[in-house]
């Protein structure tokens, strides 16, 4: 059943028909998909959801497509891991990791947003899709477009990690490196989007695209045993994921699928690009654009489109935001790998590192459930940790040499 009602301006409330557009004609405010939840009463139950395949589409009624997805039908439904070893290190009672570093098919949560954006693009009749990306989105658009037989153009800053460039190029997409930062890429793309008749996932189909992030929140609640978490920590670039996790919880409460647990939302950024965290910490609601300088390139958006809304959601929910240095990012990536066996990308280091800092400062209580959203895979950002890990010790192929090494290690 399709319960999508309209696109609605987040500022003035004006409603628009469902079409590939993203700004309000009246006030330039961003448009958001709104639904008639009443229509789902008594139909959209836990039992129905549980009976469906384990993909993000088990919640399809709450995603803005008509009928079945045509792109990315297998995406989503990643593990929620109880992080017992990390709990001990951090000194907290109940910690979970939502592990989207293994999201299908391109190992980041972007596969969620892209499958919605491209399914919608196909519905609208587009044959070429495109995006401005800090890396993960490019790979996801390229892969999902390839699998769906769509042409794709992806625009990235020219100095991205090798793994991200390769992880998009392999899919035969047209990959364009722009001299400049992500914000320059984005600026160009909003012009390109106006001129070429393409579906730009984060420009003209952005309202649909962004809704895909809600599936991460739905899954967390289902995996917690149909419970909303008390505290969720989310990495922020544009701030979209942060707002959509909050929306997912509100929707499940409204539909009676979970009880209101007073969930507080926490945002995480790297200090070298922390316009949203800064605005929260300074208790203002206007975001000052910054020039990004951090190894957490996937989060390096200096002028975040949803910054204002992320800020508001964090503060209204009783959460907080934090930022950490690049050294702390690397340390947190190692900590996550060594305690939980999860190799997350820099954004994951940001999330864990900021959580750690907020636990120490008392902003995150130690005795209530915390969920960390780990959203990307470490294999794509190897540059960040290559100098921080132990190199293999080289020995000859002789037992004698190994015995000497073992003895030096104190092995009995």
């Amino acid at each position: 059943m399709n319960i999508v009602r309209a696109l609605k301006c987040r500022e003035c409330g004006h409603e628009y028909e469902i079409e590939p557009t993203h700004v309000c004609e009246f006030c330039f405010g961003p448009l958001e998909v709104v639904y008639d939840y009443d229509k789902l009463e008594g139909i959209f139950t836990r039992e129905l959801i549980e009976s469906r395949p384990q993909t993000m589409w088990r919640y399809k009624e709450l995603l803005p497509i008509n009928g079945e997805p045509t792109v990315g039908a297998q995406n989503g439904f990643t593990p929620l891991v109880r992080a017992r070893r990390l709990e001990k290190v951090l000194g907290v009672k109940e910690l979970y990791i939502k592990n989207d570093s293994v999201c299908y098919p391109t190992l980041s949560f972007k596969d969620r947003v892209v499958s919605v954006a491209l399914s919608k693009a196909v519905e609208f009749g587009f044959t070429t899709v495109a995006c401005a990306s800090t890396g993960n989105l490019a790979g996801s658009v390229a892969a999902n477009a390839a699998a769906a037989g769509l042409e794709s153009y992806v625009f990235i800053p020219h100095n991205l990690e090798q793994g991200k460039v390769l992880g998009a190029g392999i899919f035969g997409t047209k990959i364009i490196g722009i001299e400049g930062e992500y914000d320059d890429v984005n600026r160009l793309c909003s012009e390109v989007a106006g001129k070429y008749g393409w579906a730009f996932v984060n420009v003209n189909v952005r309202p649909f695209y962004a809704e895909g992030s809600k599936s991460l929140g739905y899954e967390v609640m289902e995996q917690l045993g149909w419970k909303a978490p008390k505290h969720v920590v989310v990495p922020m670039a544009s701030g979209s994921l942060c707002t959509k996790v909050a929306k997912s919880i509100k929707e499940f409460i409204q539909l009676g699928l979970v009880e209101d647990n007073g969930t507080a939302i926490y945002g995480a950024q790297a200090t070298g690009c922390s316009p949203i965290a800064k605005s929260v910490k300074e208790s203002t609601d206007l975001i000052h654009p910054v020039h990004a300088n951090t190894i957490a390139k996937s989060l390096a958006i200096g002028n975040p489109a949803d910054g204002y809304y992320a800020n508001r959601i964090i503060r209204e929910s009783g959460g907080w935001a934090e930022d950490i240095s690049d050294e702390e990012v690397v340390a947190a990536m190692k900590l996550l790998a060594e305690t939980e066996g999860i190799f997350a990308e820099t954004a994951g280091g940001v999330t864990l590192g900021c959580a750690q800092k907020m636990i120490e400062s008392g902003k995150l209580p130690r005795d209530e459930s915390i969920v960390l959203c780990i959203t990307g895979n470490g294999l794509k950002t190897q540059e960040a940790v290559v100098d921080a890990i132990q190199k293999p010790r080289i020995i000859g192929a002789s037992l004698k040499e190994f015995d000497a090494l073992a003895e030096a290690d104190g092995v009995k």
């Binding site: 500022e11 006030c27 330039f28 405010g29 909003s190 106006g194 420009v203 002028n303």
Partner: protein
Amino acid sequence: MKLRVYLTFNTATVREPIIWKLGKTFDVMTNIRTAEVKENTGLVGLELEGKSDVVEAAVKWLTEQGVHVEPIEQNVIEG
């Protein structure tokens, strides 16, 4: 052409009559569609309409004044 932009003003620029100056300096029609101005910062949604080269020059001038200019989307390209 018609260009829709967001302008962000900082502490140094927020008290200046920059949009008025813009209208005096360039032959463009300015139409403020949304605005939020505080002590240290301001955000204005502005529509600029005029000849393409004049609109482009006006945007360049705004940047030179220290205003952060973010195009929203150029969906109507004329002339």
